[in-house]
């Protein structure tokens, strides 16, 4: 039968009668190899350079104050918030894959969920740094949490920025729990295969005494289902709350009711684009081509195409309603967005987010790793620009022309943006080397060999 979607990606991908062993070997050898591949060292060197730049630029901001960034009147929210929203968005694909695709029985996710979840956590770490520094006194971020204190200071619970603390905090907690719990059986595999005492000890501690008894598996699967159900609303809530930062205001271009679902769709879009950007080189350099197959990349391309069109729908609705509203300020904000002095940013966004993914209509394109990788990069650029467009163009031309300004980022702005990628990639590369990169146990339940009597 030739219905494409019925084909298990592993039909024929893992040749021979030892498919289970192949999965274990394929994944474990990344950790067991005496040295990682040369590409890993090159990537690590590059990432560490960027990370150093991140440290230096943030250190400079702490020393000098946030005036080191290019903020001007009236654009008081520049790169740090753009980067924050960008990274939080990237952190959406992981939980979507592990929770929503799990509930929808999309078992192909098992090949990519582990590193997508890892990516989620690293992206949230990158995101959290920006507001922490942007508050101006980065040694006092704990003031944002409601801790009883002798100053009688209490956070402003009516501010959406305060809601962010809880939304992102909850999301990070549940994502880490979900990620870690899923890894326990795989840590046990690593432990059992480890040859040095240090590794046995470390992986043994991480495996928390996992023996793989049926009782343990039963509990594990119940817990997985419950965490998936709890994480599903979180996929929607985090970026909805981030969108409230803007949408609760009265600023044309920020205040619009479609923002919550629009931000969520954009986050999934950008998150999946980052997953393919990471998946394409990882499967190449760590020899995981038979685990993360072309079919996986193709399915992710389809998700990118679909979510890209959801984002396009939101852009269109914003434009239509701005006109339909009859409100002149609303209309000005959107004409200015497309044809004002930031028009180049708007059309970059449209090109990257709406037009570029359209190549995935063609099967030839969505099965070509170069095209997938390139479009993934473009979508990431586009999603960064989306946040730039929303934040900066809406602020730059205020209600009175006397309050108009043009935000030009400073060198420190660029350095912090590039540096945050250094942190992200460093964490990701360490993850690839030392942590089971693919959910081996989950995958074994999915491959055809796991279902002797599957239809």
């Amino acid at each position: 039968m030739a219905i494409a979607s019925d084909i298990n990606p592993y039909q024929g991908a893992l040749k021979g009668d030892n498919a289970f062993a192949q999965i274990t070997d394929n994944v474990s050898r990344i950790m067991e190899a005496p040295k990682p591949p040369r590409a890993w060292y090159i990537a690590m060197g590059f990432s560490l350079m960027l990370l150093a730049m991140f440290g230096a630029s943030l250190g400079f901001v702490v020393w000098e104050g946030i005036g080191a960034w290019g903020h001007i009147h009236p654009v008081a929210w520049g790169f740090p918030i753009v980067n924050f929203v960008f990274w939080v968005g990237i952190g959406h694909a992981g939980t979507l894959i592990s929770a929503i695709l799990f509930l929808l029985r999309q078992n192909w996710r098992t090949a990519i969920n582990r590193f997508a979840e890892a990516m989620t956590i690293f992206a949230v770490i990158c995101a959290a740094i920006f507001p922490g520094v942007h508050i101006g006194r980065p040694w006092l971020p704990y003031w944002m949490t409601p801790i009883p204190n002798q100053m009688g200071m209490w956070p402003q619970f009516r501010s959406p920025l305060e809601w962010d603390i809880f939304a992102v905090g909850t999301y990070a907690t549940v994502s880490i729990l979900f990620w870690y719990m899923g890894m326990i059986p795989d840590f046990a595999t690593f432990r059992d295969r480890s040859k040095t005492t240090v590794r046995r000890l470390v992986y043994g501690l991480l495996a928390m005494g996992w023996r793989g008894s049926s009782r343990q598996w039963h509990r594990y699967e119940r817990a997985y289902l419950l965490l998936a159900a709890l994480a599903t609303p979180l996929v929607l809530s985090v970026h909805s709350v981030v969108s409230f930062d803007f949408a609760t205001s009265q600023l044309p271009g920020w205040h619009t009711t479609i923002f919550p679902p629009y931000f969520v769709a954009g986050a999934i879009f950008g998150g999946f684009a980052m997953v393919v950007v990471l998946a394409v080189p990882s499967r190449q350099f760590f020899g995981l081509k038979r685990i993360i197959t072309m079919r996986h990349l193709e399915l992710m391309s389809k998700i990118i195409l679909a979510t890209g069109m959801l984002v396009g729908y939101a852009y269109g609705m914003e434009m239509f309603i701005a006109w339909y509203s009859g409100a002149i300020y609303e209309q000005f904000a959107f004409v200015n967005r497309a044809f004002g002095n930031y028009g180049w940013a708007y059309w970059t966004m449209i090109f990257c987010n709406v037009l570029a993914p359209q190549v995935f209509w063609s099967k030839k394109m969505r099965t070509n790793v170069w095209v997938i990788f390139f479009v993934g990069v473009l979508v990431n650029v586009g999603m960064w620009f989306e946040r730039f467009v929303i934040i900066c163009t809406s602020l730059a031309r205020d209600f009175l022309p006397a309050n108009w300004g043009y935000f030009v980022p400073s060198v420190v702005d660029y350095a912090t943006l590039a540096g945050s990628f250094g942190l992200f990639f460093t964490l990701f590369l360490l993850f690839c080397r030392y942590i089971p990169m693919v959910a081996m146990a989950e995958m074994k339940a999915f491959i055809p060999e796991g279902h002797a009597h599957d239809h």
Binding site: M1, A2, I3, A4, S5, D6, L103, R105, P233, L236, S240, F244, A247, T248, S249, Q250, H255, T256, T257, I258, F259, P260, P261, M309, Y313, A314, M317, E318, I321, W323, Y324, S325, G326, A327, W361, H455
Partner: protein
């Protein structure tokens, strides 16, 4: 009532010799009874609504009828979305229940006709429903003048032709192609429907959004909300899953599909009902909270009408009855896997979805929430006509896409 004819039908399987479905897949005489009753109720309901509502062009009838119409439309539109989605993602679990969805989607042909009592009076210059039909009204506010390019009767009519033309066309296409496959067993039809689905989905998203803007949002010509199309869509998804559950339970009680449709299918439909009560709340809350928080007069007056006087408890009731009650009610696996409790949930959601439509429409007419007899007459009328129309069509087709290449997977699947 006569016993249903028990037809044995060999089902083409996907490569497993010996698998076949021994099930009744054609409606028998019981359908004629239901058709006659539903059609009778439908006609009497509509006539009563006209009489009680003070005539075709009277404000009360128009509002009662629009409420019922948008409620009925959400079932058909939701069904078209659902069928398109199954083809788009190549779903397997749903094949055994897909024909019911296709038949419900086919009700969009009827809905095209049923839109006439709203559209025709408007074309004749009646502004009892949409004030913007009157030129004086449009000239009364500066902000409305700019909208005349969109809010005018002839463009409204053109848009209606596009919406209903497109929906009727696609609903008929998916039903016809699927029925043709029952006869020919041609698997290329599955691929063809799959290829038609992405563009149908895009067309659906646009038409449904603008339909919601036109029929519901423009009741208040000044008010605007970018999320409004998604709000109506969330109700469509609730309505179609509830309607499918009820249709399947009725069919099984009459002895059809008893072996093909299992508790697993009900469980999945129930999960969607559960998930979309949360989704509706998410959208409704986003819209309300953002407008309330920003407190801009152009936007708040719409909620103001719904939060003042006796409308306040009515709005609070909607929030409670549309979220915590069905959310906690449908949470348990046992409830979704029990036909009686699931049917209860489905009826409840269809009722509360009607109340949601009422909450959108009625404040346009009444300063206080008044349940007029015409509201119920029109609701029962539209509901009756939809049931009659769907049953009438269902009599001539199989209730199961017997030769769909994925059918076997749907018959065998289990929720683990």
């Amino acid at each position: 009532m006569a016993q249903p004819k028990h037809k044995k039908d060999m089902v083409a399987d996907s490569g497993h010799a010996g698998d076949y479905v021994d099930d009744s897949i054609r409606l028998g005489d019981e359908a004629n009874g239901l058709f006659r009753i539903a059609a009778g109720i439908g006609v009497v309901g509509i006539v009563l609504a006209v009489v009680l509502g003070g005539g075709l062009t009277h404000q009360q009838f128009q509002h009662s009828y629009l409420t019922a119409f948008m409620w009925g439309l959400s079932i058909g539109a939701g069904a078209l979305w659902w069928v398109t989605l199954q083809h788009l993602v190549g779903a397997r679990w749903s094949v055994a229940v897909r024909r019911v969805g296709e038949l419900l989607a086919h009700s969009l042909v009827l809905m095209a006709l049923l839109s006439l009592p709203v559209v025709v009076p408007m074309l004749l210059g009646n502004d009892s429903l949409y004030r913007w039909v009157s030129h004086e009204y449009m000239a009364s506010e500066h902000v409305l003048e700019g909208k005349a390019g969109y809010l005018n009767v002839s463009f409204f009519a053109v848009r209606c032709v596009i919406y209903f033309g497109f929906w009727a066309l696609m609903a008929r296409y998916f039903l016809k192609a699927s029925v043709a496959q029952d006869k020919s067993g041609d698997t290329s039809l599955t691929a063809r429907m799959g290829r038609a689905s992405p563009l149908t989905m895009i067309g659906f998203a646009l038409t449904l959004t603008f339909c919601a803007v036109d029929f519901l949002m423009s009741l208040d010509a000044i008010w605007f909300s970018t999320i409004f199309g998604v709000y109506y869509f969330s109700g469509c998804v609730l309505a179609v899953h509830s309607a499918m559950v009820l249709a399947l339970i009725w069919l099984q009680r009459k002895g059809h599909l008893v072996r093909s449709v299992t508790v697993e299918h009900y469980h999945d439909l129930g999960k969607m009902m559960f998930a979309f009560t949360a989704f509706w709340t998410y959208i409704a809350f986003s819209q309300f909270m953002l407008i309330w928080y920003a407190n801009i007069p152009e936007e708040t007056h719409w909620y103001h009408m719904r939060l003042e006087g006796a409308w306040w408890p009515a709005t609070l009731a909607l929030a409670i009855l549309h979220f915590p009650v069905p959310f906690f009610g449908l949470m348990s696996r046992q409830i979704k896997r029990n036909k009686t409790t699931l049917a209860l949930g489905a009826v409840y959601l269809l009722v509360i979805h009607w109340y949601d439509m009422y909450w959108l429409v009625a404040p346009n007419l009444h300063k206080e929430p008044v349940f007029h007899a015409a509201d119920f007459a029109a609701w029962v009328g539209v509901g009756g006509l939809i049931v009659a129309f769907v049953v009438w069509k269902a009599r001539s087709v199989n209730l199961l896409p017997t030769k769909d290449p994925r059918l076997q997977r749907s018959l065998a699947f289990e929720n683990v």
